[in-house]
């Protein structure tokens, strides 16, 4: 039995979706930022940095989104090409590309003040936005031309679920509204989001997190 520590519509969402797709039993422990749950000693014992997601497993508590995802795929033999298979290399490249490039880029779009302070947040956001567009174009090109199953609209993977969550973030939550990025600009990624968000496991996860509508292919734009 797994316990996922998270917050609806935060970074724990991709783990929440992966657990639902794997159809394994788990408990969702909803943390409350305002109640100080992130600083509670019991939570800090699981993750000294006080961040979500954290997944408690039979092999101990794991943090780092990519580490949790890879662990789950290996343990359950789903959502990724298995180690030793020929398409593992391609999968790993782009999985790590998503966690090392897209994920921090999306975070910077949401909090452009964090890397260098408020004085330069506009410039930081502008550069991040441009870099994300280049990176998304590369990912879209791959999905369009090589069409690996782990970026397809009809079969979820650790990578595609991860990309889905980030597509939502970069559309809905940028600090500077002009830097919001719509998945429609990347047709193969948009089709992937449209296909996967209608799966029953994904719909159930979204409902549990209180999210309605096309959460990944066409979420609302940023609040004015």
């Amino acid at each position: 039995m797994y316990t996922l520590h998270g917050v609806p519509d935060w970074g724990s969402q991709v783990i929440h979706m992966a657990l639902a797709e794997l159809a394994v039993p788990f408990r969702f422990n909803r943390l409350d930022w305002d109640a100080g749950d992130f600083d509670a000693p019991a939570f800090r014992a699981l993750n000294p940095f006080g961040r979500v997601p954290v997944l408690e497993t039979p092999d101990g508590a794991i943090f780092e989104t990519a580490a949790i995802l890879l662990y789950l795929t290996e343990r359950h033999g789903q959502l990724a090409p298995a180690p030793g298979t020929p398409d593992r290399a391609g999968f790993l490249i782009w999985f790590i590309f998503v966690t090392n490039q897209l994920h921090p880029g999306a975070m910077t779009l949401i909090h452009p003040e964090l890397p260098g302070g408020e004085a330069v947040q506009e410039q930081v956001s502008t550069e991040t936005h441009q870099r994300l567009r280049t990176q998304l174009a590369a990912l879209n090109h791959l999905a369009e031309n090589e069409a690996p199953w782990w970026l397809s609209p009809d079969r979820p993977s650790a990578t595609s679920l991860y990309v889905l969550m980030l597509l939502r973030w970069i559309k809905s939550f940028p600090a500077i509204a002009a830097h919001s990025i719509a998945s429609q600009d990347y047709p193969a990624l948009h089709r992937m989001a449209s296909g996967l968000e209608n799966r029953s496991a994904i719909r159930a996860t979204l409902t549990a997190e209180g999210i309605e509508g096309p959460a990944f292919s066409n979420p609302p734009g940023p609040a004015p």
């Binding site: 943090f63 580490a67 290996e74 398409d87 590309f97 090392n100 890397p115």
Partner: protein
């Protein structure tokens, strides 16, 4: 047969040491920075974003340092807990921690001009990056102090080589400026670096790239 596309003293160093440690045959190909070879059409066909290193394998080219290291470990069943091993979870947690937090923080400390957004922002940017790097180093030092097989001075591992290479980089400072980070508190990590740099695989890599004999603990910049 693998083909490693590299630059001297680049992140490709961790891949080279790993290949040496695995004892697998490979060739290497130097990418000339001045000639802009990582932006050439031939290299872009291999690596669309011009990232270094790239490793050509029988399963196609691989890029992203962490992806290459993890793929090599899994492919050869060495230098990391195997996917079914009980310590795979702990290994993955700290491997991804190193690649997601320590690696970018080190780059931000060393090359603020590439990441800060503007010259005026660099001092504040570096201060924040130094704090992030120190936080990551202290957590990894705490982990290394327990001497897990996957981050140990006595046993080679992809995480050990990766972290030791990042420690190497932190010995670099621009001419006339002090080191940004005092590494002396991180004794367990120092032990990992000191243990690993004496391995034949590391000494061979140092000779291949002309980097001296104490590549991790006392690099010659």
């Amino acid at each position: 047969m693998y083909l490693l596309h590299y630059r001297v003293d680049n992140a490709s160093l961790a891949v080279r040491i790993t290949l040496n440690e695995l004892g697998v045959p490979y060739r290497d190909k130097l990418l000339n920075r001045e000639a802009g070879e990582q932006d050439s059409a031939a290299y872009r066909a291999l690596q669309p974003l011009g990232l270094i290193p790239a490793l050509e394998t029988p399963d196609g080219p691989i890029f992203e340092t962490a992806a290459i290291l993890l793929w090599l470990a899994d492919r050869h069943g060495a230098l990391a807990p195997t996917p079914s091993a009980p310590d795979r979870a702990a290994f993955l947690k700290w491997f991804f921690f190193a690649t997601s937090h320590l690696h970018p923080a080190v780059l931000h400390v060393l090359y603020p001009e590439k990441y800060a957004g503007s010259p005026a922002a660099e001092p504040a940017f570096v201060r924040l990056a130094v704090a992030r790097a120190n936080l990551a180093l202290s957590e990894l030092d705490r982990v290394a102090a327990a001497r897990p097989a996957w981050l140990s001075p006595d046993q080679p591992s992809i995480l050990g080589f990766y972290v030791a290479m990042l420690l190497r980089w932190l010995h670099y400072s621009k001419p006339g400026t002090p080191l940004q980070i005092d590494l002396s508190p991180y004794r367990a990590l120092h032990a990992v670096a000191a243990g690993l740099e004496t391995r034949p695989a590391a000494l061979k890599a140092a000779a291949q790239e002309g980097l001296g004999s104490t590549i991790f603990t006392n690099p010659d910049y």
